[in-house]
């Protein structure tokens, strides 16, 4: 079990736990990039998805944009942007946001569309304003699906944020890229393990968010 040996060696090496290249520091950087990218993607995807889902208009255009965005290769986009713009945080954020917007946008749209129309009809009939219908009737019911869209976007971001290291930024990708050039597989495996663990933590966070934010009437238990 080569890989397990690598993992064991990586984490038991005290040198990996301190300093600017230590695990806590790299983990923090990775979480920061990921949160920033998720926040940006959500800032684009959620409002557009909610609005189009509520009005029911623009579904086809949305599907087209999402397909096009999914087709763009994240790594290729990163390299291209770095060539054009130079190094920095922005060139990393662009491919990550492009990656994360489609799942958020499409699931949010679908989630709002799939809300049972009769409560919406009832709400309109009792004189609720459209904004209130969206936020107080549709959103609470659509929330589980919307969260699942955010969740899959977050997992993809956490995994792909490793590319930040390729343009000389930090994060857990540092171990993988450095390990590749130094032929230090222990480092690569260690970094990959940390990324996978972070993805699991992300899942747990979203599970907890779902428990807290989704009404028991929607969860049905």
């Amino acid at each position: 079990m080569n890989v397990l040996n690598f993992v064991n060696a990586f984490f038991s090496d005290g040198a990996h736990w301190h300093g600017y290249d230590g695990i806590p520091q790299r983990l923090l950087e990775h979480v920061r990039y990921s949160l920033l990218a998720l926040a940006l993607a959500a800032a684009i995807g959620l409002p557009v998805g909610l609005l189009t889902g509520h009005t029911g208009r623009g579904g086809n255009a949305l599907a087209f944009i999402a397909t096009a965005a999914r087709a763009l290769p994240s790594f290729g986009l990163l390299v291209l942007i770095v060539i054009l713009m130079g190094f920095g945080l922005l060139p990393v954020m662009i491919p990550l946001v492009v990656l994360a917007v489609p799942p958020i946008l499409v699931t949010t749209y679908e989630a709002v569309r799939s809300v049972d129309p009769s409560p919406v009809d009832a709400a309109r009939g009792m004189g609720m304003r459209e904004s209130r219908i969206l936020f107080q009737v549709e959103l609470p019911v659509a929330l589980p699906l919307i969260l699942s869209g955010l969740r899959s976007a977050a997992v993809q971001i956490v995994s792909t944020a490793t590319i930040a290291a390729y343009v000389s930024l930090g994060g857990l990708g540092r171990y993988i890229v450095d390990g590749l050039y130094q032929r230090d597989y222990e480092k690569v495996v260690g970094g990959a393990t940390l990324v996978a663990v972070l993805a699991l933590v992300t899942l747990a966070v979203f599970w907890a968010a779902g428990r807290l934010a989704v009404s028991p009437g929607v969860r049905r238990r």
Binding site: D116, A122, V137, P140
Partner: protein
Amino acid sequence: MESVTKRYPDGTVAVDRLSLEIPDRSITVLVGPSGCGKTTTLRMINRMVEPSEGTILLDGADIQQQPVTTLRRSMGYVIQNAGLFQHRTILDNIATVPRMLGWGKHKSRARAAELMERVGLDASLGKRYPYQLSGGQQQRVGVARALAADPPVLLMDEPFSAVDPVVRKGLQDELLRIQEELGKTIVFVTHDIDEAMKLGTRVAVMRTGGRLAQFAPPAELLSDPADAFVEDFLGADRGIRRLSFFPSAGLELTTGPVVPADAGAERIAASDAPYVLVTDAAGRPLGWSDPRDLTAGDITPEGLLPYGRPFVPGTDSLRAALDCAVLSPTGWAVAVDTDGRVVGVASQAAIGEAIRDAHAAGRADDARVAP
């Protein structure tokens, strides 16, 4: 509603020059086959659908004059599947409109609890979520929610069509009771003619193409359908149904064949009827018997023929009386008072006579009105 038309962009006309005066504090039912524009008509009243032509006046004021949300908040709205908010508890569902109108949380909740009682829901259900309730209970919540802000008008769009017949009957009775207590102006859409006849003070029958076929009280619909369409829509047993609107008070009853169980043989012999109705000491019916059997020996309850279901003259209609007569093995209907004591019996012939009289009276009424 004055000459209201709804035409969709694709050219289909859902409602065609409909004029309707909906009376206050009564139930007006819109009924018709699917696609006749009855739901569209209802939804134009709270402007869920805007009419293409014509005006709708509410207490003399054009409904277009006030903001749409204000208008809707002044009308209760109940739809087919209740349309409850699954993320809110029952209490919060009912409290929705009061909260929107700016009532305090406490006051809204108290009002919601009061309404739950009024629509016959147990207070313990208040903390539950809609998925934990049966379809009939959900529909009751829907009615309570519509009543929450005490609107003068209640719009109901096929509210009871998704529940089973037994529950539906309960909900209909409840609605009639609530209407009696609160005196709301209710506009009720249904495709079920029986429901329309049962609930409606006045019934508007609509036909495909969004035109009004007839607008009249149920009894008048049955007696004078405007045309073949209405007649057809009312169904084949229109004559029988119409009897529901004839009182049985004028029905001629006879006490000749009614005999107490302890009466002597001469009393029985005095009645020349082919059957006698035997009653107990309190005057409640026991059953029918052949007079010859009675004179021959003792009366045992087992030896009697069942008397069927009795009717109460004055309360029940001629339809109930006829039903009793048809079901009775002897062809005689048993009339009882509210305490269940026999007041007499009526033959099928006597009921037939009463029906003829009622028809004649109806025609005389018409004759007075017609010229």
